[in-house]
Amino acid sequence: MNVRLLFSITQILLLITFLGATPLSASQKEAKSIDELVAMFDESQCMECHEETHSEWKNSWHSKAVISSLKGMHNFIAIGLKKEWETPLTKAQIMKCLDCHAPTVKYASEELAVEIGNMIVTAHKMKGTKQGDAAKKELAKLNVGCLSCHNIKAGAVARGLHGEPAPGMIYGPEGEDADDAHETEELVDITRSSFCMQCHGKYKAADGETIQCNTLSGSYQNTYVAQGGSQTCQDCHMKKGHTFPGGHDLDVVKEGLGLQVEIVPYGHLPGTLKKKVKDPKKWIPSAVVNVFIANKTGHRIPDG
């Protein structure tokens, strides 16, 4: 083999390697339908090996992040955009909801994103009708799935350092070898509170708009950490794995809130109250109730 041919083969190999690591947004076409979008981020394969984790996730609110929030998103589109801002529904606008509620929509075409927005309005407004239920069924395919966290959002808090996510790469806390199933890369970011805070806190859209569904990250950072707190979101909310229990789980709420009650019954001195009693000469049955309510969590209560 001559040197020139060897050089050309090397160049081709380098090009293939480079293309393989090209960012998803640049290398993949934009989805034109929900099914196409779901296929692009096919998560059905995940459950083949990660059955337990998938089952946990299936019971989580992440798995229904769109259909459990239809009212709020409908109001943003039908009241916020249409009536208050008098602004058309665009992908950039609906991403103010879906960047967190369904991160895969980042890879939808402009037309599909708008269609999803309109489906949200239909699903909420026509709830209980054939059309509304059909829209909800389609929307149920969108959620915060495996690749939302383990690819799309994985390195987003340090995008400058990590760059765009590589297509098909699974970013995890350990980067365990998954044989031929998928490529894995260790990314410590996913174990940090700042990773969750991308969505569980005040959200800043690309155009600078702030969207405040909750402020968990605010009280976590400014009060809990400021007082010396060191637990991460994952420390508490991954105790039951990928079900991510929180305010919807009564056991978790019970664990996070303490109640201590001290009751002191006594007889109040006769004739010393402004309040009228039947017999002013008698001792007045009385009680002092002291209640101690403790927030044992790393964020304020209540919050979203």
Binding site: Q212, K254, V291, I293
Partner: protein
């Protein structure tokens, strides 16, 4: 999050007349737009009035109850409820105690 404290005269047969004392404390947030008006929409809320229970905070609430002089048996109940939204609430912790007064 809501704390309900009630005292009932359990010698009274008519449930409508049992209540001797009730008080409530609520922890929540008020979302405001930039004009200081209360808002519910996530896109409208730019600031908040924070009336929530802060991380690692223990709040002490004290209730003084004076009943009528003919009251003999009182049941005091303290309930702490958590509302995941405006409609759905669950009792997180509760405590109920009964006291007999013999003050003659």
């Amino acid at each position: 999050m809501v704390l309900d404290v009630t005292a009932k005269n359990i010698d009274e047969k008519d449930p409508a007349k049992q209540l001797l004392f009730s008080d409530q404390k609520i922890w929540w947030e008020i979302g405001k737009d930039l004009h200081g008006r209360m808002r519910y929409g996530a896109w409208q809320i730019k600031e908040i009035v924070d009336l929530t229970l802060q991380p690692m905070e223990t709040r002490k609430e004290r209730f003084l109850m004076n009943f009528d002089t003919d009251i003999e048996t009182v049941e005091i109940e303290v309930k702490l409820s958590y509302f995941i939204n405006g409609k759905k609430g669950d009792v997180v912790h509760s405590e109920k105690k009964t006291f007999e007064y013999e003050l003659d």
